[in-house]
Symmetry: C2
């Protein structure tokens, strides 16, 4: 369970970093159920198409930036939580720190509850 949860979280992060259109969509279909829901403070996306469009939009907002898992993946009862960092190319400090709870259904993600722990200052 914990191994699967960690591997799923890694593939989830990989989907946020994958800029090749076909590979990104393939990762998203592997990671999420077809009608999965993803929410964070800015977004409410339902299904592969909307989630893919969300990831693409974020990648366009932060070109060249990379997502990484931060710390452990904490998992129980088909639920996982983890923090992630988004960093600019070559940066030491993350630009954004986020936190997600993901509910699994049948081994894939059925819903993501995303939160932001650190956001860039808007000048």
């Amino acid at each position: 369970m914990t191994t699967h949860a960690h591997a799923l979280a890694e593939r989830y992060i990989a989907s946020w970093n994958e800029t090749d259109t076909l590979r990104r969509r393939s990762l998203i279909e592997d990671v999420y159920n077809e009608h999965a829901r993803y929410t964070d403070p800015m977004v409410d996306a339902k299904g592969w198409e909307a989630i893919d469009a969300t990831v693409s939009a974020v990648q366009n907002m932060f070109p060249g930036h990379r997502f990484t898992l931060a710390g452990d993946v904490d998992a129980h009862h088909d639920t996982l939580r983890f923090q992630w960092h988004l960093a600019a190319p070559g940066a030491d400090e993350p630009l954004v720190i986020g936190f997600d709870v993901a509910a699994m259904e049948g081994g894939r993600i059925g819903q993501v509850f995303g939160f932001l722990d650190k956001v860039p200052h808007v000048i």
Copy 2:
């Protein structure tokens, strides 16, 4: 939305502190949907009856202890997250620190994803 979320989190915490059987059940029916699901690392409870039994069992494990909200309630898209403390009577430091994400449906809680940030050492 944020005001409602905060008030809901406060009533949720109150339900964990309420030891009068009838008042506790009334709070639980007010806070959760009838078929709500509550999970944490130790428990998977579905519906008012099972949630009430869970809360009662925790109260029996920690007699006289009090739950309090810790920090802000962070809310968006019918979702809230908050940390809580469980402290022994007269204690300065919490014995347990937990963290919950709650998904609302129609103004009440449809699902709680509970996690533990600090647990007592078992000797």
